[in-house]
């Protein structure tokens, strides 16, 4: 798959939007401006962006509790997202969903999900709908190496293979399963083998390399649109932050995170270097992209803060359609 310079720049831009959004969200959370809990996607941006760059607007994704990145990568509006994090009436969910429940049906975003593995079956259903209608749409389910142990993965993998559904499983192998190393719970850490019994491809990809993720997804999308069925993409990465903000990370090996934060691993400088090396952008243009992303998120916070809280009477709205 050839990738134009414009596409590469756009991927870099989108990764920065996610990074800036997450850093801003973390700041708001630490200032006690957010309620409940929230989960940072920092360090994993290349997966959401690489995957969603290979999708059309009318393709579907299901996301996770760590969902801000997927939503932004698929085209979600940072203003409506930030307003949702701050519980405002102008938020994606009118202040009723919060961090873990942002959806934009018009963009094919079938929701973040508070249940680990909860989106897998929904994506399989959206894939079935695509086949049912014959509209050539595909569905992608993002989940992690903790969620891949859930039964619904195997239940739907069997059906997706059986019926050749246009479904792409994207396992973000971020090496953690909530407050533990994921490998503690994996009989075999080569997760591509989880596709083997169902006879569809399981492929490893460097989850910190946005171009590699994009290419792998492109192949899976082509296969799905051809009617050849599902693919499991295992994108290896590292969860830079804790499970939630405030996670003391006592279970993590000392110094390990520093490796993943260096310029060779962190997906943003990694892509930045590539853009410089290929003379697509100048150093000051890279900086401008970062600044622009931070500006967008700053404006999103201003929008959220100037938005009204939901009116009390909306408590009863939308229980039923």
């Amino acid at each position: 798959m050839s990738i134009s310079n414009e596409q590469k720049i756009e991927m870099y831009r989108r990764m920065w939007l996610i990074r800036a959004f997450e850093e801003k969200a973390r700041e708001l959370f630490m200032k006690n401006m957010m309620r409940g809990t929230t989960h940072m996607y920092i360090g994993e941006e290349a997966i959401a962006v690489g995957v969603c760059s290979a999708l059309n607007k009318d393709d579907y994704i299901t996301s996770t509790h760590r969902g801000h990145g997927h939503c932004l990568a698929k085209g979600g509006d940072p203003k409506a997202m930030m307003a949702e994090l701050l519980g405002r009436a102008t938020g994606y969910c009118k202040g009723k969903g919060g961090s873990m429940h942002i959806a934009d049906l018009d963009l094919g975003i079938l929701g973040a999900n508070g249940i680990v593995g909860g989106g897998i079956g929904l994506a399989a259903g959206a894939a079935y709908a695509g086949k049912y209608r014959g509209d050539r749409s595909v569905a992608v389910s993002f989940f992690g190496d903790g969620a891949i142990n859930q039964g619904v993965f195997y239940e739907t993998a069997n059906m997706a293979a059986l019926w050749k559904l246009p479904l792409i499983y994207v396992c973000e192998q971020n090496q953690f399963s909530e407050f533990s190393y994921a490998e503690q719970f994996l009989a075999d850490t080569d997760l591509t083998k989880r596709a083997l019994p169902f006879g569809f491809p399981g492929i490893n990809v460097n989850g910190n390399d946005v171009l590699a993720v994009y290419e792998a997804t492109g192949e899976a999308v082509a296969r799905a649109r051809r009617g050849d069925g599902p693919t499991l993409i295992v994108a290896k990465t590292y969860r830079i932050e804790g499970h939630t903000i405030g996670d003391p990370l006592t279970y993590r090996k000392k110094g390990e995170v520093d490796i993943w934060k260096d310029d060779k691993h962190d997906p943003l400088p990694r892509m930045g270097k590539c853009l410089l090396k290929e003379s697509i952008l100048l150093p000051e243009e890279l900086t401008a992209i970062e600044n622009e992303a931070r500006q967008i998120c700053e404006e999103a916070v201003e929008f959220a803060l100037s938005s009204p809280e939901p009116e009390l009477k909306t408590l009863w709205d939308d229980v039923y359609a």
Binding site: Y60, T62, G91, Y92, C93, K94, G95, K96, G97, H101, A103, D104, L105, L110, G111, N113, G114, I115, G118, I120, G121, L122, A123, A124, G125, A126, A127, Y128, A129, K131, Y132, A139, G151, V152, E155, T156, N158, M159, L162, D317, D318, V319, Y320, A321
Partner: protein, 326 residues
């Protein structure tokens, strides 16, 4: 409208045929619902008429296929997921309770899940503890779900058609001892509205609110009590959530005596909800304490004598109604 006598089973089958013919987005999925025609023959003829995509045989994976139903509904299809016994719905609690029921509210009204979960509840034919439960209270407890329990062939057809056209997730609970019952069903197109109770028998002395198969027991009990000079009004809520409390309250205000019959076990059962709401709304009209007739707080036993002792019966209902006049 002209009527004919139809089996409950056949009435449901007609509803499926008509709605699938009317709307190409409607499809049915579940275990043996396609080629075999359904373990209870409710989906007979759909596979032949509408093909395998729309009468989809699934593996035995309740969580898997129900969550697929939720996903398909989120993107605009109108799936009917058949769960062979309501007992098996425990395997699909996440898609029903955490996904389908929450999507509309949680996503700020921008999503809807027009999914029907068709399933079978109830005891009385020796299916024992894992195939005989009446779990309607579980689902009635969840805001965002509609819960329907038809007691007659006419209601079964009209309510199923309404459920399929409803934009919310509907848990549609049939009863294993009703499938072979017969009753008048209108010829041609009709709908029974969701959320509307029906007075199945008018009376002036006692109100019996009964759900699902309990309606039939209550009607039989009413005939016997009539001979003793006690005129019973039988109210069938038909929909448990949203509950038509208005019709129940109106009847209780008239008769001043209330019996509530539900096949679920006593503790935390749906009867408790009706009793509580009656206490809140019509307490001052009642001549005495409300009487509950429910299943005993035991897993359903296999042995016939034990099973019959565990579930409500005509005799227990008669005794409950008579207690007001002792």
């Amino acid at each position: 409208m002209a009527e004919r006598i139809l089996q409950y089973r056949k009435a449901l089958n007609e509803a499926l045929h008509e709605e699938m013919e009317r709307d190409p987005n409607v499809f049915i999925m579940g275990e043996d619902v396609g080629l075999y025609g359904g373990p209870l023959k409710i989906s007979e003829g759909l596979y032949e008429r509408f093909g395998k995509m729309r009468a989809l045989d699934t593996p035995i994976v309740e969580e898997g296929f129900v969550s697929m139903g939720v996903g398909a509904a989120l993107v605009g299809l109108r799936p009917i997921a058949e769960i062979m016994y309501i007992d098996f719905s425990s395997l699909a609690i996440d898609p029903i309770v955490n996904q389908a029921a929450k999507a509309c509210y949680m996503f700020g009204g921008k999503a809807s899940v027009p999914l029907v979960i068709r399933t079978q509840g109830g005891a009385g034919r020796g299916n024992a503890a894992q195939h005989s439960q009446s779990l309607e209270a579980w689902y009635a407890h969840i805001p965002g779900l509609v819960v329907v329990q038809p007691s007659t062939p006419k209601d079964a057809k009209g309510l199923l058609k309404s459920a399929i056209r409803n934009n919310n997730p509907v848990v549609f609970i049939e009863h294993k001892l009703l499938y072979n019952t017969k009753g008048p069903v209108p010829e041609g197109e009709y709908l029974i509205p969701i959320g509307k109770a029906e007075v199945k028998r008018a009376g002036s002395d006692v109100t019996i609110v009964a759900t699902s198969r309990m309606v039939l027991l209550a009607l039989d009990a009413a005939e016997k009590l009539s001979k003793e000079g006690i005129e019973v009004e039988v109210v069938d809520p038909r929909t448990l959530n949203p509950l038509d409390m208005e019709t129940i309250a109106e009847s209780a205000k008239k008769t001043n005596r209330l019996v509530v019959v539900n096949e679920g076990v006593r503790t935390g059962g749906f009867a408790a909800e009706i009793v509580t709401r009656a206490c809140e709304e019509v307490f001052d009209y009642l001549d005495g304490p409300i009487v509950r007739v429910t299943s005993e707080d035991v897993p359903m036993p296999y042995n016939e004598t034990l099973e019959l002792a565990a579930i409500p019966s005509e005799e227990k209902i008669i005794a409950a109604a008579r207690s007001f006049f002792a």
